[in-house]
């Protein structure tokens, strides 16, 4: 449906395939089922956040509070997830509710105050971090129930549960973006906000939805992280927003709004995950890892840009 972003997607797909090929040739351990499952597992949290921020970026906004929302929702969920206290749905609802509420708060301030999203979410980033520390009194919340820990650590028929969550979320987000009126309106708002308004679209409502969805997905990421490391960490998720935004942008979402796809974002997230996984496999020292990661990110986007030209 969206020509330019589709061709962008092909570019990034090509870049991704190329990098995978190089890695498969350089280490035999890369292309094994178990390693691929590990990558999927490691990528899942960043991908969830990246899906959320993709919606936001498509409408021409940005959300820097993702990482803080991961911490708040993780701590909030963990607080209700001790063994033999509440049934599993309680921590899940608490976490998802907290994330949606924080996202809705972002949306409300952005639409009512007209302050740029960058500033608003910079503010809520700090507020969120503070809330996480207040909720947890600065200490990790541990001793969580087995059922809660299954979310991030369990597997069904050999497939890690986070990967299942990842693909369900991917399907839901893709459908939301491509098959619903709300999704269509997101592209319209990001593509030309005044024209969208003049076409009768309630721009504020679309933005409210988008930030709320982003909060919800961050909460899902927060719950997954908490369950994976079996503790609610108040300082978890710091810097996650940058990885998520990077995944979206590598995947062809334009920061000026109006374009982007979930498939692109998924590939972007996988690309980042594959690179860090394989640099560990190849035992590249951490100083070089950062350099290599940066070079590959820029390279992928350049390659993508080349593919985009008519």
């Amino acid at each position: 449906m969206n020509r330019s972003s589709k061709s962008g997607q092909y570019g990034i797909f090509f870049a991704f395939a190329l990098i995978c090929l190089v890695l498969a040739l350089s280490t035999p351990k890369f292309f094994t089922i178990s390693n691929l499952l590990i990558i999927g597992n490691q990528v899942s949290i960043n991908a969830l956040l990246a899906f959320g921020v993709t919606f936001v970026i498509i409408t021409g906004g940005i959300d820097l509070s993702l990482g803080s929302m991961v911490a708040v929702t993780g701590v909030a969920a963990a607080t209700f997830a001790h063994p033999d206290t509440y049934p599993l749905v309680v921590p899940l609802l608490v976490g998802l509710g907290a994330g949606s509420a924080m996202g809705a708060f972002n949306g409300l301030v952005i639409t009512k105050s007209k302050v740029p999203p960058f500033i608003v979410t910079l503010g809520t980033m700090t507020i969120g971090r503070g809330l996480a520390l207040i909720l947890s009194k600065g200490r990790p919340v541990s001793n969580l129930s087995d059922s809660f820990n299954f979310i991030g650590g369990g597997n069904i028929a050999g497939i890690p549960f986070p990967i299942i969550i990842l693909f369900v979320a991917f399907a839901v987000c893709s459908i939301l973006l491509n098959k619903t009126i709300l999704g269509r309106y997101m592209y319209a708002v990001g593509g030309n906000e005044p024209a969208a308004r003049a076409s009768g679209i309630r721009v504020s409502r679309v933005k409210m939805w988008v930030y709320t969805i982003c909060g919800l997905l961050s909460a899902l990421g927060g719950i997954l992280l908490t369950s994976r490391i079996t503790t609610g960490q108040p300082n978890a998720g710091a810097g996650f927003e940058l990885d998520a935004i990077a995944a979206a942008i590598i995947g062809g979402t334009s920061t000026s709004g109006g374009t982007g796809t979930m498939t692109g974002t998924l590939i972007g997230a996988l690309l980042i995950g594959v690179i860090s996984n394989s640099l560990d496999l190849l035992n590249v020292t951490s100083y070089y890892q950062q350099v290599v990661m940066g070079v590959i990110i820029i390279g992928a986007v350049v390659l993508d840009g080349v593919g985009k030209k008519d």
Partner: protein, 313 residues
Amino acid sequence: MKRNAIFSAFIAMAFFTGCNQSSNKESGSDAGDKLVIGATMLSMQNEFIVNVSDAMEAKAKDMGVELITVDAERSALKQVEQVESFIGQGVDAIIMNPCEVEASSPAIKLAMDAKIPIINVNSETSAKPTAFVGSDDTESARIAMKYIAEKLGGKGNVLMMHGFMGQAAQIRRDNGAKEILKANPGLKLLAEQTGEWDRAKGMSLTENWIQSYGDKINAIFAQNDEMGMGAVKALEAAGLKGKVLVVSVDAIPDALQAVKKGTLDATVFQNAKEQGGKAIETAVKAAKKEAFEKEVLIPFQLVDKGNVEKFLK
């Protein structure tokens, strides 16, 4: 316009609440003749530091001194400013939990010039303070690595997970570990990589190592418990826990639980309570111009299944 002004005030608040002071002033008490101690802590987001801070507060209450604690949020600049404001307030002594070896040093000089005793707790600065209370990080890694050497009988493949590269604790723990590795030529360092003190990162790193080295891994040394816990999770998931020794440092409650369960083989206990308590004691002595020790070193203790009960509250 007005809206914007209100909003920016709101944002500003959000930013500055970070440096709000939390004091344990007891209302109605005559604070006038009480000793006042100012404390600036590396980061109140770090569990160990929070524990030290709690111990300081408890001790201060016991001794009847007023303690003002502020959070430097890992910023040395902020820390120096906080010490300046302590000096301005005329506190009787200052306790500093330094953010950085070099960058926090100016604070020492400021306090010395103002003739206010300043005590470093937990980690060091290049400038010499009135007194130092803490433990030697190098020693903690030596203890951990010695344990590994012992358990493996001096032979085997070891992986090391670093903290944030370049931080004082990472460098010391690295030095300590490498010392022991050198002394045991049968131990081979298979790979080393940073997990940035983070549990999720430690877990991912271990997963990737398992892919690379699989059965060859005999032991993992993680420079803190968070990463060690991550390693344990990854090994458990791969069904390798029984075969790989995991040792880390700090003895946080989670790690103690894991030692008790037998999933983490050992951790090294750094005594937050002692550090905090001794810091207050030394500060009070220095403020009252009584005799005090210039260097109070709190020893580390190895915690394994045999003695873990002692450390669990």
